[in-house]
Symmetry: C2
Subunit: 561 residues, 2 copies
Amino acid sequence: MKKLNVVLVVIACLFSTSLFAQDIIHDAEHYVLKKQHGDNWATEDEDIDAKLKKLEKKHGTKPNIIHIMWDDTGVGEVGIPEIQKLRGFETPNMNQMAEDGMNMMRMYTEPSCTPTRADAMTGRYAVRTGMHTVSFPIENSGMDAEEVTIAEVLSEAGYSTAFYGKWHLGDTESSYAHNQGFDEAFFTPYNQVPSMWVREAEANNVVTGLYPELYGEDIYDIDQSWKPIGYVWTLEGTKGGKTYEWGAPPAVPNFWDIDKECEKRTMEFVRRNAKANKPFYAAYWPTVTSFVPDARSSEKITANKNVLQEGLVKVDAFVGELLEELEELGISENTLVIVMADNGPFTHHGPRGMVETLYTGGKGDFTEGGIRVPCIATWPGTIEEGQIVGDIIHITDLYTTFARLAGATDYIPRDRIVDGVDQTSLLINGDGYSRRDYVMVYQGDNLSAGIKGRFKRDWKNAEPGLSGAEFYDLYTDPREDNPEMIQQFHTKSMFKRQKERHLLWIEKYPNRPDATPGIPLQGIENVRPETEKLYHAPFNMDDLPFDLKEVMDHELPFVDE
Amino acid sequence: MKKLNVVLVVIACLFSTSLFAQDIIHDAEHYVLKKQHGDNWATEDEDIDAKLKKLEKKHGTKPNIIHIMWDDTGVGEVGIPEIQKLRGFETPNMNQMAEDGMNMMRMYTEPSCTPTRADAMTGRYAVRTGMHTVSFPIENSGMDAEEVTIAEVLSEAGYSTAFYGKWHLGDTESSYAHNQGFDEAFFTPYNQVPSMWVREAEANNVVTGLYPELYGEDIYDIDQSWKPIGYVWTLEGTKGGKTYEWGAPPAVPNFWDIDKECEKRTMEFVRRNAKANKPFYAAYWPTVTSFVPDARSSEKITANKNVLQEGLVKVDAFVGELLEELEELGISENTLVIVMADNGPFTHHGPRGMVETLYTGGKGDFTEGGIRVPCIATWPGTIEEGQIVGDIIHITDLYTTFARLAGATDYIPRDRIVDGVDQTSLLINGDGYSRRDYVMVYQGDNLSAGIKGRFKRDWKNAEPGLSGAEFYDLYTDPREDNPEMIQQFHTKSMFKRQKERHLLWIEKYPNRPDATPGIPLQGIENVRPETEKLYHAPFNMDDLPFDLKEVMDHELPFVDE
């Protein structure tokens, strides 16, 4: 399978130059819509191009893009102050963004962190890039070097690009953010799980066994080879430059320092580029919603008091400062700001207070609670204020839309499926102008559900042979509490065809089966000795009858983690 | 028990004149708060009195009050346009009310129709008035004549009072709305259940056996005595005047005519009193959320299309017309308008589309989904605009608050517990000014849960002897999905005392055990022969060894329906 992939990529690359002038290859379902609306879209696009040209003339550059994305938050928790009243906390700045811009009520993501982040970076469903499963230290794999990130696309169009915060796309050197196209990066290769690997996490009942001092002695604990001692917390680097570890885990105060540093760097990056009148793309993906309360906070800032809500209020404060800075720099009207979450609340085994709000399910689930997130966009003068939009938009759409805004559409690769569709019309024309009415919902590499407008079909629990109570009308039953059968049979064959088209396309443009394997955490200038030991983990090659490279090069059919 | 009640009422009445100058007797919990906040409240009240006096001087009358209350709608379904986007319908006029006034995020009702309506009318928990259980045709009982309704209280202060719509407080003559203090009434003694008793309901799978033509012949169906043939749909009358049946069931078109007629009469009543410069109280409680779609509508008016949402949009249209009329009559700034639902969504055995939104549970449940409803209040110039308030307010509070606004507090009886506390300060001063942090949640006459601020205790499912996972922090877990124990033990003794105080007060001021029994549907001038037959149902007294009166006069201990 792996070798076949390589061959396909090579063949595709040979054709890529001539393919460049072609249309982007979208998921099959796109063409069903295009057939019906392509003419309208073309007309809209002419107006949009004129508008963007006018804007560029006014500001002297293409628009700036700031993408802030945090963890594990359900629809309604941000941007709907009525619901925040019920939860005992408030994010006034992001709520104000909703009033000043567009509150997207149907932004879909993948059901967990790594997949959603891969989607945002590549414009492709995580199942296509092999990044479909949440990574943990030590992962020994990462996003493939051949993936073309939004940073690479925008760089081609002359954008400055920066990444700050939770990257979570692997620990191989080629997957580092600054090796994936960012001019500058300050990022955590992993998630916030290490925030549990400290004594302070005990109170939250989540402390687990990383360091010997977190457990008493256990005489039966005889394999020391696999423990992730030596993992790094934060790395930094610049495009083509060297990689450095920043700080060193584990220590709770460190954790909060990461976001503080990210905020400082984001602000500095924005200022620097604004002054140079250079268009920029900044991704600040805070790590702030941890498992462990901020030990340095002397008092709680919300009546809710749980880690997510305390964290959201901190993110919100930064958003307020950032928007003010854009104003002062005079670039507000040339900057698209998007704030959003990466997936639903961490309801299964997450910290206290991570609960369902409007939707059923949370992180990891294929129900709406897992894959629908708060998302607000502002762009004063271009996005009309006070909009609440019911259109479907998908995280991958940001990729294609950002590229369009930057005049960089041509740099989107044409040798693979790019799921993201251009949603510039939605941003500019508002409610009802989405170019998408479908989402394919994956859990890992399993196709669990299909969405088409108000309708949803559960394939995961479908009884073979019988179409049972596996259909939902999301207006009638947004919480998916009452699966229907006879009421929805008119959608059955539509979903069947939707799935068939989707699978046919995968046959034509195969998925990467998994994240690309590799030695973890290499290429760090100030590498610690305990990190270097990981290059040989989980075993010393010389003493074993198989070697690390041999294991990594095999795509074992039963390995799914 | 019944006799004891009568004695107590008599004793209480003897004292009532001298008690009149005394404070209202509230639930025990009130005094715990009063002890802590009484001085502040007194200061606030002086300012409020001054403000109300000034307002009266300006307008020449006390303020008008319009109370619109419909069925079975969860928090968020009205007044939060973001959530309506997710449901595929819109109530623009009521959403505008939220922007122009106060959106109450914590209005508590009883968990079902009859109890909530009794609460609103009497200012007392339904368990105290015996009106704790939903009535159905034929009920043979109704709200006791000794209860003092808000109509009676406001009448004493010179208000014109009118009731239009779903009364649902019994079918005894003394319980009719115009016999309970309203100057004029046009009302359904029952709920919308008869809307199922027509052939058209078959499509909704809810048609049940009222009329022989709705079933084929059943040779085993040998008791014809108990079927409610002859029930009435709508009655009308004026205070001290005669009662007439309006229209005649069953017929689907009739059903929608009721609301149309209510709307016409409400508008006419408002106009008439505005022109006479007489303060008025109008209760319009639409019947619109039926089990059966409006057969006359040629097309749906919502993408959602289910009966509740279609109904809400109809109510909303009327609200829009009404607010416009108030504006034209020049009485907007002297009129408090409250729109709300009577309990949570009909999730158990209700029509399609009656589902949970934010909260768990629905009609009948003691979870928040059963007892928390959308509620919006406007009063231009007095209620500040754009307020979202997190305070607890209870349906009974409207009684006491309306009386305060009308200068009619003295007419609230002092011989019984009145649960409603004066919430004028909340209306005028806004968020944080509620005089209530508690609710006792009953299902029927069972005390199921206690609420104190953000905390809630489930008594219904409590394991005797052990305080188990029966505690909730509603900010942390608004859906009551994760009952807690150790995290909430500091609330245990507080809830214990709350309950003890509450029960002690019931011992002092006993509840009516049930709705007051009586012959149904008497005193109708244009009575139909089939209705008259009901006076002798469910059996012919002469042919049985017990008579109807004997049965009714007995409070049988095992009768709970």
